[in-house]
Amino acid sequence: MATKTYAGETVNVNEEGYFTEPSQWNKEIAKEIAKEEGIDLNDQHFQVLEMLREKNEAGENLSIRGINKSGVVDVKTFYQLFPGAPLKKATKIAGIPKPASCV
């Protein structure tokens, strides 16, 4: 198992850099991962990150479609907040596993 150090804390990650233990996450860590992705986190980012963490905790499958239903942001805004591949980036920054899109 690989580890990485963010904001002075050592966290467990998989080979793609996704957290294997979401409990090791905090906001300072999130800011540093976001920087690696070229994103400066603001309050709206954090709202989305918290929502993703809650859904992950509840065992829900994360998907782009689900973002719309969450009521936090719409998909267009989600793309603006995390440009490119938003779900992959946002889950990495939120310290949760990469969404296993269904087989």
Binding site: E60, N61, S63, I64, R65, G66, K69, V75, K76, F78, Y79, P83, G84, A85, P86, K88, A100, S101, C102, V103
Partner: protein
């Protein structure tokens, strides 16, 4: 008299009615099935229709043909499930009560959820092949099409039978090659996944095949809208792709009645235990197949493997024992790769598709994760198995649990 009520007489509902009628005493248990349609569709056959390989008659039969004696079937739309009161309401106002409920209402496509998808070009230049109407309209279109940009797009997951869109691409390549017009048709496969398929080894095989067949691959694409005038699709990030013919696999969700009854997740799939198949909210409700939120493929093979487990667990429930049936996510499917060849994959919740032989280690006769003629005939033969063995709940000569025997790790 107690009642086992089954909602949906598709693949799962029909198999369960057959299995449970053999098991439960007729003096004690009444079995009732409800479905809004009298026709059973062999859905895997929809893939063959656009290319003229199958006609409509090849994929439909009356549901009645598959009902064993002693099972009551009612053809009506189910309006509402009132789980708290152990009853359902039909569109004609009739109320049916139950002791045990099996939800097998499947999944449906929602083209109306994507702006423009069901616009003026719907079934003229924009098609689905997940309904018999869509597949037939596309078959007509292909008959006189002179070529152009053929775009195959999966809007977002989950979808039924996740390999079907790829098979469609392989078939399209073969079809237009055989017609001597492959040079006039550019084929682009547009997917929300980061590769041709989810699982690494299968993705490599299938991605390689796309390249070999000169099919373009666009990944990480989540469909935002469709512009009918300009004939372009746009993803949420603004990426545009032009089409002359769009073959769309629209968003999927559970049956409307699930949502209306407050039994579904965000997309109307019923939350259920992925091993026991029992509903998470009500202990006398069980779920089989596409209707559930199970983290495995929405596929007929899954329904078939689940049916054995559900049969076992229903008996545990009725007899007041602990559940002994544990579904492992086992799924397998034949993948048509065109020109009379096919591949086969076999996997479960924990193990990705691996190369090897199936069902007998070292012998096969079916090769896993590689193309062969035999795998293609396996798929064609499957239609016969489906009508004659599977729906009737008879035993198949393959294991319910996935086995590592015959698989190679590297």
């Amino acid at each position: 008299m107690k009642r086992l009520l089954i909602l949906g007489a598709g693949t799962g509902g029909t198999i369960m009615a057959n299995k449970m009628r053999k098991e439960l005493s007729r003096e004690e248990w009444k079995i009732t099935l409800v479905d809004k349609e009298k026709t059973h569709y062999y859905q895997p056959g929809f893939l063959f229709i656009p290319f003229g390989y199958y006609k409509k008659e090849d994929v439909i039969k009356p549901k009645q043909n598959f009902m064993p004696a002693g099972v009551e079937i009612i053809y009506h739309n189910i309006e509402k499930i009132e789980a708290g009161e152990n009853k359902i309401l039909l569109e004609n106002g009739e109320v049916i009560t139950y002791d045990i409920l099996i939800i097998a209402t499947g999944t449906r496509i929602n083209p109306e959820e994507t702006p423009g998808l069901q616009g003026e070009l719907w079934h003229k230049k924009i098609f689905d092949f997940y309904t018999v109407e869509g597949a037939l309209a596309l078959s007509n279109f292909f008959k006189s099409w002179e070529g152009g940009e053929l775009v195959i797009n999966v809007a977002d997951n989950p979808i039924k039978c996740p390999v079907a869109p790829l098979e469609f691409a392989f078939f399209a390549d073969a079809f237009f090659t055989e017609r001597g017009m492959r040079d006039k048709v550019s084929i682009t496969f547009v997917t929300p996944l980061s590769g041709a398929f989810t699982k690494p080894r299968a993705s490599k095989l299938l991605g390689g095949l796309l390249e070999e067949k000169n099919i373009n691959l666009v990944t990480d694409y989540f469909l935002g809208e469709v512009d009918n005038d300009k004939q372009v699709i746009t993803d949420f990030g603004g990426r545009e792709i032009k089409f002359d013919c769009l073959v769309s696999i629209p968003l999927h969700s559970g049956a409307e009645v699930i949502e209306k009854s407050g039994l579904g997740d965000d997309f109307g799939f019923v939350p259920a235990d992925k091993h026991t198949l029992q509903s998470k909210a009500h202990e006398n409700i069980f779920v089989i197949g596409d209707a559930g939120n199970f983290p495995t493929s929405k596929a007929g093979s899954v329904v078939h493997f689940m049916a054995d487990i559900l049969h076992e667990n229903l008996m545990c429930y009725i007899e007041g024992r602990q559940f002994t049936g544990k579904y492992d996510g086992h799924s397998n499917c034949f993948i048509e790769t065109g020109h009379g060849k096919g591949a086969l994959i076999d996997f479960n919740y924990d193990t990705e598709p691996l190369p090897g032989f199936y069902p007998l280690p070292g012998i096969g006769p079916l090769g896993l994760l590689k193309q062969s003629r035999l795998n293609h005939y396996g798929k064609l033969f499957f239609r016969w198995i489906y009508w004659h063995i599977l729906l009737r709940g008879k035993e198949m000569p393959i294991d319910t649990e996935m086995t590592m025997a015959g698989k190679k790790l590297d």
